[in-house]
Symmetry: C2
Subunit: 125 residues, 2 copies
DNA sequence: AGGCTGTCTCGACGTTTTTCGAATCAGAGA
DNA sequence: TCTCTGATTCGAAAAACGTCGAGACAGCCT
């Protein structure tokens, strides 16, 4: 699974605490930024953002690659590559069942990212 | 390659509605993804994520470039380039006052992005 | 077994991004 | 005016990225 050996991963961050301070309340240190940035980067492509949305909003909580691919004017390998990026960013999990592979969102991570971006009420800033 | 001028911008999206459905509740269409992705992409770099955090958490609600630059082992032009990226992504506003330029976060946009990522509270975590 | 289908890996390509130094622009002050 | 400082733009080079076709792998079904 881990091809590289980063000192810290997104999952580690999430495991440590239920959440984190929004970036508007506390300046994030360089190490934290290095761990978080790849997750945002993964969402920073229109295709991956759509994929993430399709996965996260799948009625069954998961969705087959075979349902994802035909929604784009892109080759199978390209979609597979984007899914791998999402996987390596820690945003989704994949599971093979027979011929098909199903993806599901890692909601804890998603919540983590949402909290980071959240800004309190304008007045409280 | 070079696409046509984007018919829609992040600011437009935000102006339309106070917020939007989280991607976990509703699959986002391609056009929306195309508008949103650049914002996440802008946050997808460790330097920019730190810059964003410093700007968003600035006590006065704004911060001078002269206070940002010395915090990194990067050249002035490089920091300036990242700030431009943040600006063009619609995440921050810049204002020149005399010799110095001040940046402030566009909290409406930030809230918008946070809401998008937010996942309700399904039984499974 | 053999073939078929769905998914992923590999190698390659053109494009985009990150970074720098040099040059330029904007304003303050002598 | 002329100079100094802060910030941005310009031009270039290396690295990373998005995309593809070809091939490999995994699990069905005759």
């Amino acid at each position: 699974m881990s091809k590289q050996a980063p000192a810290l991963t997104l999952a580690d961050l999430n495991a440590g605490k239920p959440c984190c301070a929004p970036i508007s309340e506390q300046r994030i240190p360089a190490e934290t930024a290095a761990v978080l940035a790849p997750a945002f980067k993964a969402l920073g492509d229109p295709v991956r953002l759509q994929l993430m949305s399709m996965i996260a909003s799948a009625p069954a909580g998961e969705i087959c690659v075979c349902d994802l691919t035909p929604e784009f004017d892109l080759s199978g390998p390209t979609i597979s590559h984007h899914l791998k990026t999402l996987r390596e960013a820690g945003l989704v999990d994949a599971e093979r069942r027979g011929t098909w592979v199903y993806y599901r969102a890692r909601s804890g991570i998603m919540r983590h990212l949402a909290s980071l971006l959240h800004i309190g009420t304008p007045a409280s800033v």
